[in-house]
């Protein structure tokens, strides 16, 4: 069950606010009423945090906890090819440096640069190939959403026109589009859905 929006906001900020409150409270009370009390407050805070963390972890086992956007993104970590590509680009950068300070002769530079560039091209092609289905899927979802948006907009225009014709001043029973709210609710719904097949070798078996 998704949390109401204000609670969702509080929950999102709790991971920073909670330790801050505990530390501040412990510092103040510890200073005025003794270090022992300060430590007890820290201990209580840490105990609360550990219970919350382990409870959240257990909830995740059933798969009934929606992934946040950040968590979902973290599942889409770079593939092996992307990571190798970075390594090759770094090697190219180093090679340029070696050449600039005269530690490598032109012949070696040309051979090595050629080698790294062809490796980079191969990896870029591999990354592109991996991303192909994802890109198509994203484009399809976007197209569907845009189509839904224009249908809703047409429906709203019709309702407004009907209201004007009937001389009714009441607000029509059609949700006023709120970009931010719509985005939130959409993402909240999407969050529950299964993550897309991902690039890493093990991620295409999402439960």
């Amino acid at each position: 069950m998704a949390l109401p929006r204000p609670l969702h906001h509080i929950a999102a900020h709790a991971r920073w606010l909670y330790p801050l409150v505990v530390v501040v409270l412990a510092s103040i009370l510890g200073h005025f009423l003794g270090l022992g009390l300060g430590l007890l407050i820290v201990g209580g805070g840490v105990l609360g945090a550990s219970i919350w963390l382990i409870w959240s972890s257990l909830q995740g086992l059933g798969g009934n906890v929606p992934l946040t956007l950040e968590e979902a993104l973290s599942l889409g970590a770079p593939s092996a090819e992307e990571e190798q590509k970075r390594s090759v680009l770094r090697a190219l950068k180093d090679l340029e440096y070696e050449r600039a300070v005269g530690k490598i002769n032109e012949e070696d530079y040309a051979a090595l640069a050629q080698h790294y560039r062809s490796e980079a091209k191969r990896l870029l092609r591999a990354v592109d190939k991996d991303l192909g289905p994802e890109r198509e899927r994203a484009e399809r979802i976007l197209a569907e959403r845009m189509a839904r948006g224009s249908a809703a907009s047409a429906k709203r225009d019709e309702a407004a026109a009907a209201a004007v014709v009937a001389g009714d001043n009441a607000v029509p029973n059609v949700a006023v589009p709120n970009t931010e709210a719509d985005w939130d609710s959409d993402t909240a719904n999407d969050d529950v859905s299964e993550p897309a097949p991902l690039k890493s070798p093990t991620s295409n078996t999402a439960q």
Binding site: W16, V46, S50, S57, A91, K103, T202
Partner: protein
């Protein structure tokens, strides 16, 4: 809760074990077939971390409230101890130090799991699982063999035994945590290595990630060892800083292998070779951290550092067998994938220089490891332990050290893959010229300045070998100075060539080019700065060749002269505080006919049962040399006192070198900002992270200042006392003084002040870092939503 604190503490340790086992299982499941469980595993890791922290907080609370029902509290604290030392007692004994070890490991785990978000998706489950196995091992160890919450059978005492006075030293407060940070930090690269082996993701990218973690751990190993040296120098009173004690050796073994790894990983990155070697190095480094802990705590080899004998050795042996079996099995399984795809093409290449340096470092490491465990071998084969002493190590480690220095100095001059003769000649020209000039100057003026190039010691061995070793040893100072100057010239040349290249290509000013050079290539130039620091440390070590030592037995007003210092013995006095009697000797010091200062070496006799008198060294520290005075004994009747007076040249360069090494490490560790995060916030976040690091450096750097401040307090009090005595007011001296007014009390107050300041600094840094990270995170989320 506080009524049953010991039981609750033990319960928390059980909870740690259960939580670690649960997280391990979930991680494995996430890695095998259910990737969505990864989030549960991550939360489980955080939860385990929080539980360990709870255990530490409970133990700290027990110390603060003097809960002497707990055996550990009763043994390592008493009611007279001030708050900073009560916190120090957390790691002052075996049981608590294991919990502290686990706490630092948990901090690393939390940082690593946070850092892994969005990275290395396929490795993450196995990294977390490996780390949880380590956590579980330490939890089992504490629960079944060294529980810090165990109660005394005899019930609560009225007062505790107190912390060993030798540990009541500023450097002892920060030395163990630093060293543990280094030891524990090696767990993260190990977890990465196991994860890479299990998943078969053995490309070069994971090794890049590991390098930063290893560098971080390496920096703390360096700092921890240096702080240990500083403590030994100030507290033990034998005139030196490194005695090749088994525990010291055990602490430096992983430093060697970590150094090797930091260099050899570059070869894998650039040349896609040495894959097996690097994985093996990570495994060995982690193994050595556990082995070192085993040596310290099992009581197997006698050492001044050893904790009490206990049965935890068997647990460590079991864990070491598990590590060796797992690593060997996994490496053998993945051997086909670990085969090198590149090769070393020329001996005149940087990778070849690195490989030779690797072997030199590993040779040194093996030598120390064998010599340290030699008593075990001899006991096994001959039935009795035979130890090797410091002269043996000094004699044989010196050439190895010089070889490492030479290779360290030369390696940057080579290019990757191969270096042409012309490039090499050009690269060697300036450093060779500088080295030859310095050698000439040393030969010409060394003796006159008190630093002769040739120092002949008595032979250690008989016959021709003895003569050869003696002669080689005699020219060690000259060779060291030559190599150090070569190293400095190489570092200068590397910076100069880089700046010149940038100025040529980008039309930048000198300072702009220098800044951009370091910014664009932090790892490389951070490494050169580290080389500079290590060069200075070598210079400091070399000072031992010129040290002077003299024993003197003096009556009041008599004098002794050593190395340009003239010491006049003025008399002795006795002071008493709550916990000890202090016998001071007062000496006036002159140098070249000019009054320099006063020194007050002392003996402290603690009230603690069975505690031998401690030696309190008096020092005058300088860049050129340290005057180091130790009082041997004093005759209460005649006031005749015996002293051992050392003049230790260039010791300050060791501490300066360590600070430079830290700066270089920070430069290398400065976080790279990815293209996705190019915004003001990413830089601000990076700045916050580094600010916290620099603050830590300042805290460490300010330690000598604090110590000096303490000494100054003690000195000024003693000066006042002397003045009072001169005015025939003996009561001012003889009257027992409380801890708040005595020298020790002053030290405690100063230490408390420093600790408060340090605590506030860290708290401030963390709060700023958290706030900035929070803001940065919001910004990043917004960008992700936009995209």
């Amino acid at each position: 809760m506080w009524e049953s604190l010991p039981e609750f503490g033990t319960g928390v340790l059980y909870a740690v074990l259960v939580s670690a086992a649960y997280t391990f299982a979930v991680s494995i499941a996430a890695g095998r077939s259910r990737p969505r469980l990864l989030q549960s595993a991550r939360l489980g890791a955080y939860g385990t971390t929080a539980l360990v922290m709870l255990g530490v907080v409970l133990l700290a609370y027990a110390f603060i409230t003097h809960d002497f029902r707990i055996r550990y509290i009763a043994r390592y604290s008493d009611r007279s101890m001030t708050t900073p030392y009560l916190f120090t007692a957390l790691w002052g004994g075996q049981d608590g130090s294991l919990l502290w070890w686990l706490f630092l490991l948990s901090a690393y785990i939390a940082a690593c799991v946070r850092w892994l978000e969005g990275k290395y998706r396929s490795l993450q489950p196995y990294i977390i699982a490996t780390l949880m196995v380590i956590v579980a091992f330490f939890a089992v160890l504490m629960l079944y063999s060294a529980n810090p919450f165990e109660t005394s059978i005899a019930g609560a005492r009225v007062d505790g035994e107190g912390l060993n006075p030798l540990l009541r030293n500023y450097y002892m407060i920060i030395h163990p945590p630093s060293l543990y940070m280094g030891f524990v930090g090696c767990s993260i690269p190990f977890a990465f290595a196991i994860a890479a082996l299990v998943t078969g993701r053995l490309d070069s990218e994971w090794i890049v990630a590991v390098r930063k973690w290893m560098l971080f751990a390496w920096m703390f190993l360096s700092v921890g060892n240096a702080l240990g040296m500083k403590w030994a120098y100030e507290e033990l009173g034998w005139g030196g800083y490194w005695a090749w004690d088994p525990v010291e050796n055990a602490a430096c073994l992983p430093w060697f292998t970590a150094t090797v790894y930091i260099h050899s990983t570059m070869i894998q990155e650039r040349r896609n070779t040495l894959k097996v070697w690097n994985v093996v190095l990570i495994c060995i480094t982690f193994f050595l951290t556990i082995f070192g802990t085993f040596l310290t705590r099992s009581g197997l080899i006698s050492s001044v550092h050893s904790f009490a004998k206990s049965d935890i050795g068997a647990y460590f042996v079991g864990f070491m067998v598990l590590i060796v079996a797992t690593c060997t099995g996994l490496i053998t399984w993945r051997l086909p994938q670990l085969r090198a795809q590149g090769r070393i093409e020329s001996v005149l290449s940087r990778e070849a220089a690195f490989v030779v340096n690797n072997w030199a470092l590993l040779g040194g490491c093996t030598f120390i490891a064998v010599a340290t465990t030699w008593p075990l071998f001899t006991e096994f084969f001959q039935g009795q332990q035979a130890m090797v002493g410091p002269p043996f190590y000094n004699r044989w480690m010196t050439p190895v050290g010089l070889l490492i220095l030479a290779l360290m100095a030369m390696a940057p001059l080579f290019g990757w893959r191969k270096t042409s003769g012309v490039s090499l000649k050009r690269a060697f020209r300036l450093p060779s010229a500088v080295m030859l000039s310095v050698v000439a100057l040393h030969l010409a003026f060394g003796t006159r300045l008190g630093f002769p190039a040739y120092v002949l010691d008595p032979p250690t061995y008989r016959g021709i070998i003895g003569t050869v070793v003696q002669q080689l040893s005699a020219i060690t100072p000259l060779i060291t100075v030559a190599f150090v100057s070569f190293n400095f010239a190489v570092v200068y040349q590397e910076f100069q060539r880089g700046v010149r290249a940038r100025r040529k290509n980008a039309a930048e000013g000198f300072f702009e080019a220098l800044g951009m050079l370091v910014k664009k290539s932090r790892r490389r130039y951070g490494g050169y700065i580290v080389h500079l620091g290590i060069g200075l440390m070598y210079l400091g070590f070399c000072g031992k060749a010129w040290e002077l030592e003299q024993e003197a037995s003096l009556l009041p007003t008599e004098t002794a002269e050593v190395g340009g210092y003239k010491l006049t013995y003025r008399g002795s006095r006795r002071e008493v505080d709550q916990e000890k009697q202090m016998i001071f000797a007062d000496l006036d010091v002159e140098r070249n006919g000019r009054a320099l200062s006063q020194v007050h070496p002392a003996k402290f006799i603690y009230n603690q049962n069975g505690m031998a008198p401690t030696t309190e060294v008096a020092q005058i520290n300088g860049l050129r040399d340290d005057l180091y005075v130790v009082m041997g004994s004093i005759d209460p009747e005649s006031k005749r006192a015996t002293f051992r007076i050392h003049v230790n040249p260039l010791v300050a360069f060791i501490w300066i070198g360590v600070l430079i090494l830290m700066c270089g490490s920070f430069v290398s560790l400065w976080p790279e900002v990815s293209l996705r995060e190019v915004s003001a916030w990413s830089y601000v976040r990076a700045t916050a992270g580094v600010t916290s690091g620099v603050m830590f450096a300042i805290i460490l750097a300010s330690a000598p200042a604090a110590a000096i401040e303490n000494d100054r307090d003690v000195l000024s009090r003693q000066a006042l006392a002397q003045e009072a005595r001169a005015r025939a007011l003996p009561s001012a001296v003889a009257e027992p003084s409380g801890p708040e007014s005595g020298a020790t009390g002053k030290s405690f107050i100063a230490a408390q002040g420093v600790s408060t300041w340090s605590g506030l600094s860290i708290l401030g840094g963390l709060m700023v870092g958290a706030a900035v990270a929070w803001a940065g995170r919001s910004r990043r989320e917004a960008s992700q939503l936009e995209s």
